[in-house]
Symmetry: C2
Amino acid sequence: METNNYCYEYPRPSVTTDCVIFGFDAGELKLLLIERGIEPFKGIWAFPGGFLNMEENSDECARRELFEETGIENVFIEQLYTFSDVNRDPRGRVITVAYYALVKLSDFKIQAGDDAQSAKWFPISQIPSLAFDHNLILRMALNRLRSKIRYQPIGFELLSEKFTLPELQNLYETILEKQLDRRNFRKKILETHLLIDHQESVKGVPHKGAKYFSFDKNKYKTLSERGFNFEI
Amino acid sequence: METNNYCYEYPRPSVTTDCVIFGFDAGELKLLLIERGIEPFKGIWAFPGGFLNMEENSDECARRELFEETGIENVFIEQLYTFSDVNRDPRGRVITVAYYALVKLSDFKIQAGDDAQSAKWFPISQIPSLAFDHNLILRMALNRLRSKIRYQPIGFELLSEKFTLPELQNLYETILEKQLDRRNFRKKILETHLLIDHQESVKGVPHKGAKYFSFDKNKYKTLSERGFNFEI
DNA sequence: GTATCTTTGCGTAATTGTTACGCAAAGATA
DNA sequence: TATCTTTGCGTAACAATTACGCAAAGATAC
């Protein structure tokens, strides 16, 4: 039984949000995808997302859907772009406000059998063809991540709270797809004075263990309000 | 008589586009605003915009509304951000996909009595308080313009086809709100080899007239596809 | 016609920032 | 105790940016 109780003078599109979720593990950038359980695109992988409720804005919608479909919450999330092509959804006129999220993968090891029908982390090099216009959305999200990581300290959102400089460099090299000089990278990062030294080293490796650091978010906030610019 | 012929199973927001229109004249950045003729915010200035039709995407909607309300067409236009706060429009749930446009002011001298109820160019320093959340949209558009002009050749969109280097420098100084060295600016611009020298100078000034140049859009397109990056 | 004024247009020096790379120290293993 | 790998700090070479001197052009004043 279908009840069409919501009537308007002019036609309206449906509005959804979708969220590209980036993670980083074992020197690889990863993407969390959901296998669609219903038509259209049943069995095809897609970004988590869903319809906007009337009592929430699009940020809230994106966070809610992210939590409902993957269990992920309290992460970095940012609006990417709004996709509105007339035929982007076979169900009818649907526009989507796309977001991207950066996740500390260690915090959210998704296990099969969550309320997420079927959520799975894919290495960025092995992304299948996606539902709707999600291939296009992904391309845009990757571009945004690659350019933004160079002038805003968002890379830290993909690492554990404590990380080493080699780990951070590995992250930058992976996302920027180029090698960086170890000593110059260290210099540039440290001279921002935004890393907190934990006076503690990696143990159990057959060589000198790297020191642990964490990112000083509060100090960055203060500095950036005074016009400081983070750049790698 | 009201006809509510469009009925849906779930409630849907209305979707609009709004467009922040920048112009540049007499060493000043300007904004084209429309005085609203109907409630809500009757008599208050706002950006041109309107409701999305079902057979157009948001880019097309923004361009259509821009033309209908101001007569402006074939200009640079780019999506800015989607604003979706629950109470941003007193008429009900309306989300707007905001755009910004860059206009060669000489091409579009708006005269009163257009089908635009009342369109007027305002110097950026004398913008009145705007309708809806348009003050917020403006702040975001200004930030976008200021950062984007440094790494993409969009400044030329605000000048006439032919312009002089002092004019271009004046534009950059106005938008970036800082003085630039005349000789270094000239050097940086010219060594991109993206300006076409028209072998013609400004006449009728009581001193040496500056040479006219125009921007080589095609050459830029070719170069940027090969990885070239415009930076000021 | 000549001097003067303002602004354009081109050069070079001083400074700063980026890139390349040598080497000692730490921590484990042989 | 020697060896191995990786971290962590320094300094030299190079490139880019900034500062600024000065001649030339085009108009006006005398």
